[in-house]
Symmetry: C2
Subunit: 204 residues, 2 copies
Amino acid sequence: MYNSYPSKLLDNAVSEFAKLPGIGKKTALRLVLHLLNKPEEDVIIFGNAIVDLKKNIKRCKVCRNISDKDVCEICSDEHKNKKLICVVENINDVLAVENTSRYEGVFHVLGGLISPMDGIGPDNLEIKSLVERVSSGDVSEIVLALSSTPEGDTTNFYLYRKLASYNVKITTLAKGVSVGSEIEYVDELTLGSSIVNRVKFELM
Amino acid sequence: MYNSYPSKLLDNAVSEFAKLPGIGKKTALRLVLHLLNKPEEDVIIFGNAIVDLKKNIKRCKVCRNISDKDVCEICSDEHKNKKLICVVENINDVLAVENTSRYEGVFHVLGGLISPMDGIGPDNLEIKSLVERVSSGDVSEIVLALSSTPEGDTTNFYLYRKLASYNVKITTLAKGVSVGSEIEYVDELTLGSSIVNRVKFELM
């Protein structure tokens, strides 16, 4: 339905919105018509916000989190424990862990999980940079906070093998996180508790 | 939650998305991070689609529907019955009625409903242009297809008084539309049937 619009421009804008995850054609139309009723300045601000973000965003050269500067706010925060690194899949997970207010260390963003099905191997992820951080010798503990999925497990095993030879404690989130769930959707209390009760990583 | 982002640019983009109807902070973040993972060209196309729409869209000078040209596709379609005008609140309603494939006439988009609570009076709507179309004498029937709400009823009454003196049949949608519902969310079958069974407008 709604496959013939009175305007190519409208059709175009609706198609672009409908590409977003969880947004169908009907919702896309509602969003576009909402914006169409706004003053032109507001629409330009909206359009530019996302383009500016994409053009100007940087990756922190330490942890690969997104940042406005070369080194992100978390890595340059002197109250953070730099010897403690939490390894996460993506930026959402950094925000999720930070929001628990129960973690005092820094992060390392892999940018994904090992997934042969999707053609993602260790070389496509920020694993080399993690090993470099650990091999520099200033790290005492690595917390593996990856999703409890087959891809997460595979990545955990791979990282464990890569890091086991260094003098570093490798821990993982407490088994408060339910099996099959994705880190970013876990509620703050459960996630906070699973960080506090993190346990030594062991091959099963 | 999620009130501290690692980047002002990210914060900005998320805030803009969160202004859209039905999009909360968490969904906004998901959409923004999705776009952030796309190639830069795609993000620019997305940002421009909505700005181009807003800058270049026109209002049809006949029916006030949105259009790429001075006269919209519906008004310039020679298969449409120009003597039959369906009066609707907004563009969504034009699309909804067109999608039923049960209506052969043209439209008139009011751009809203009379609502003293929101400070919208008859002069804020495209009522004068509708009266001009009717007074030109080429119109045989006006179908009032406004939402079945207090504002819709008020607007129906006002239009009826304005148009009753002209030699034109005034009809309204059959009472298949449930009371309290908005036109754009009615399913196609019900809406199509209510157009076919439209009845003469009568003051209650």
